[in-house]
């Protein structure tokens, strides 16, 4: 019994079940999936579950990077939303060139994506350098990009809103003709496979965890903690670029102040829900990814009950607070003490009887 409780996957799965049961009681139609046809005549699956699969995927991609950053540096990157705005802006800038309403694309999508990857990794490196080499707390260091990011994104496109008319660009955030499952899910799947292979066949996971658990002792063991923290931020940059491609592909355009708004909160929440310590150290990548989908489950549920988008953060904030309070060591000790007392009393009562 206690083994199940101690498993890291317990929290996200329990939360998922709780939400599912809640929805089942409130309105079973939540789970209905229908096969329909979109405006182009291609088969698509629709329903709340598909929405979760669709929008949870970009969150899962971010959660991969965020887990590494959290584990290595003991802090979180709060600039991911702003960084998505930047790399999305870069994608559109390359695709549209100087003409903001170009009929044809000025460059192949893959080129635009690679350039945006490089840009996102440079910004990740900027954050990473501040954290690793200047020893600034991660959240404060990323606060710089958090403020400046959306401004930079607007500046890249001269504050215009370029629109991509090419239909193939919308495949990344929508559906590939003939396949009824949303594409972001496949992209997320690819990212997950890559990261699991990397964790299995390289020392990335081991080194990241050892730096997070004890920086000076891993230095004494011959690791380079600065480089590993730096690397974590660069990997997050890469994840940001992938998520940004999905984001801009959904709309074929960009809104600098709204795109990926508050997504940093969701990404941090996904890591926390996965049972990973926010102060760094050990991590479980699978739990984080599952956590991301659970968060999206929560968001979709709230939307279904007509909670306005601007009010969502309030509800999520309560969830975060509850989560961190119950995973705080002092609270855990208190409860385990209480549990012991109660069981002891029970045993004594049994003995008396």
């Amino acid at each position: 019994m206690s083994k199940i409780f101690r498993n890291q996957l317990f929290i996200p799965i329990a939360a998922l079940l709780l939400l599912a049961v809640f929805n089942l009681i409130a309105d079973p139609s939540f789970f209905k999936i229908t096969l329909g046809y979109n405006s182009a005549g291609d088969p698509v699956l629709s329903g709340y579950l598909m929405t979760i699969l669709d929008y949870g995927s970009e969150l899962a991609i971010l959660a991969i990077g965020m887990t590494l950053v959290t584990a290595a540096s003991g802090g979180q990157d709060i600039s991911v939303g702003a960084a998505i705005a930047i790399s999305g802006s870069v994608v559109l800038r390359v695709l549209c060139g100087r003409d903001h309403h170009a009929e044809t694309m000025q460059a192949p999508i893959i080129v635009a994506f690679l350039i945006s990857c490089v840009v996102a990794m440079i910004f990740g490196a900027f954050n990473g350098a501040l954290v690793a080499f200047f020893k600034i707390q991660p959240m404060v260091a990323t606060l710089i990009l958090f403020t400046a990011g959306r401004s930079i994104a607007a500046w890249i496109n001269n504050n215009e809103l370029p629109i991509v008319n090419e239909i193939s660009f919308s495949y990344f955030g929508g559906f590939i003709p003939g396949i009824p499952v949303p594409t972001p899910f496949f992209i997320a799947l690819a990212c997950v496979i890559v990261i699991f292979l990397a964790l299995k066949f390289t020392n990335l996971g081991l080194y990241t965890q050892s730096v997070g658990i004890n920086e000076s002792s891993s230095r004494l063991n011959g690791l380079n903690p600065e480089f590993i923290k730096f690397l974590a931020f660069i990997i997050l940059g890469l994840c940001v670029a992938v998520a940004a491609l999905i984001k801009v592909s959904r709309l074929s355009t960009i809104n600098y102040s709204v795109i990926a708004k508050d997504i940093e909160m969701d990404a941090i929440l996904a890591v926390a829900l996965g049972g990973n310590a926010l102060s760094g150290g050990k991590f479980n990548m699978g739990a984080s990814i599952l956590g991301a989908y659970v968060i999206q489950f929560l968001t979709t549920t709230l939307y279904k009950f007509n909670v306005p988008a601007d009010a969502l953060p309030a509800y999520k904030a309560v969830v975060v607070i509850l989560l961190v309070v119950f995973s705080a060591p002092t609270v855990r000790e208190f409860f385990s003490g209480l549990w012991k007392k109660m069981t002891k009393k029970g045993v004594e009562a049994n003995a008396k009887a």
């Binding site: 710089i144 500046w155 009010a311």
Partner: protein, 343 residues
């Protein structure tokens, strides 16, 4: 000269950073006068900066307190928006009186300070996570209270908002030859009073010295018999209350409620606190420095906007660049300290 050098070598981190801040502010103001013309020489220009930033001064003071204690609070912007929205709704829909609206503001600030303080100090949860949640909660609640921005038309409140305090001897003669007195708003007086009060608390009271001790070194503060948890709790409580007061001062300045109010205020407050010489690692900082930090920040904003670069993104980029610069300066100061210890 030798003596001066000696003195400079032994200067404490707090004073060194304060010195840098004040020098930077004066250099910037002189630069503004030289490049942007004589407008900056008028006392009223300076007072306008104060008028527009009275709330920011209060928020930054609160942040300085928690940062000196080695913690952080990023919920202040959200609290400001929540306070102004709640007060606006109360004054307009309930026809309530101004005094009660002040109590509401204080109450909201106190509640945030209390809850965040308990979570951070007694449950040992990372301050950033708690206050990030606090920020999102406040922003979300603001929209739940009321969705659209609106102006408050309560006559008592408008009278209070329009109250101006003339500063004697600082006025100027305008083009028509009429003497226009220089003025400040009520919020500025509140802000200045609180800055002075905090200065004395930090310098001369036990609680103030405890803040520095806890921020400087948690462990040794504990060894000295300081109640570390309670000190941390008080820092967050004070910060919450200051955010409440700052929120009301902000509300008094703009006279309206809107979910988008004080967007990025937490960032500006942290930036001005850092520019004012407060170290993120804790234990180093000065309220007077914070005051100058706010002035430096708003002067650079004024320069940016009067240089014709008024597109919103320039402000964000300049503040971020300035913050980056000062963070690096701090890093250098830390390195200097380490060297001294080694010697």
């Amino acid at each position: 000269m030798q003596k001066l050098k000696e003195k400079f070598k032994n200067i404490s981190d707090t004073n060194l950073l304060l010195l840098i801040t004040i020098v930077v502010f004066f250099l910037m103001y002189i630069g503004a006068v030289v490049f942007q013309g004589k407008g900056f020489l008028k006392p009223q220009t300076f007072f306008n900066i104060l008028n527009a930033n009275a709330a920011l001064i209060l928020l930054a003071c609160g942040l300085s307190l928690v940062m000196i204690t080695g913690s952080i609070d990023i919920s202040v912007g959200g609290v400001t928006a929540l306070v102004s929205m709640c007060c606006a709704v109360y004054l307009d829909y309930q026809g309530g009186n101004v005094f009660v609206s002040m109590l509401i503001a204080l109450g909201i600030g106190l509640a945030f300070g209390l809850v965040q303080g308990i979570l951070i100090a007694y449950l040992d949860i990372q301050p950033f996570i708690v206050t990030l949640a606090g920020m999102f909660f406040a922003r979300g609640m603001t929209t739940i209270v009321h969705t659209n921005p609106f102006n408050v038309e309560n006559p008592n409140f408008v009278a209070l908002k329009e109250t101006r305090v003339n500063v004697p001897g600082m006025g100027s003669v305008n083009k028509l030859g009429v003497y226009v007195p220089a003025y400040v708003e009520l919020g500025v007086l509140v802000a200045l009073l609180i800055v002075l009060a905090l200065f004395f608390i930090l310098r001369y009271t036990k609680l103030g010295r405890n803040f520095y001790a806890v921020g400087g070194n948690n462990q040794s503060a504990l060894m000295l018999g300081i109640n570390v948890k309670r000190t941390k709790f008080f820092a967050h409580l004070l910060c919450g209350v200051l955010a409440g007061i700052g929120g009301y001062v902000y509300f008094l300045h703009v006279g309206s409620g809107a979910p988008s109010h004080a967007q990025g205020a937490e960032m500006n407050a942290i930036a001005s606190s850092i520019i004012g010489g407060t170290m993120l690692t804790g234990g180093v900082g000065n309220i007077i420095g914070t005051f100058f930090g706010v002035l430096s920040l708003s002067t650079i904003q004024n320069i940016v906007s009067s240089a014709g670069l008024d597109q919103a993104w320039w402000t964000g980029i300049t503040i971020a660049a300035m913050l980056c610069l000062f963070l690096v300066i701090q890093s250098v100061v830390m390195a200097r300290k380490k060297k001294q210890v080694k010697k």
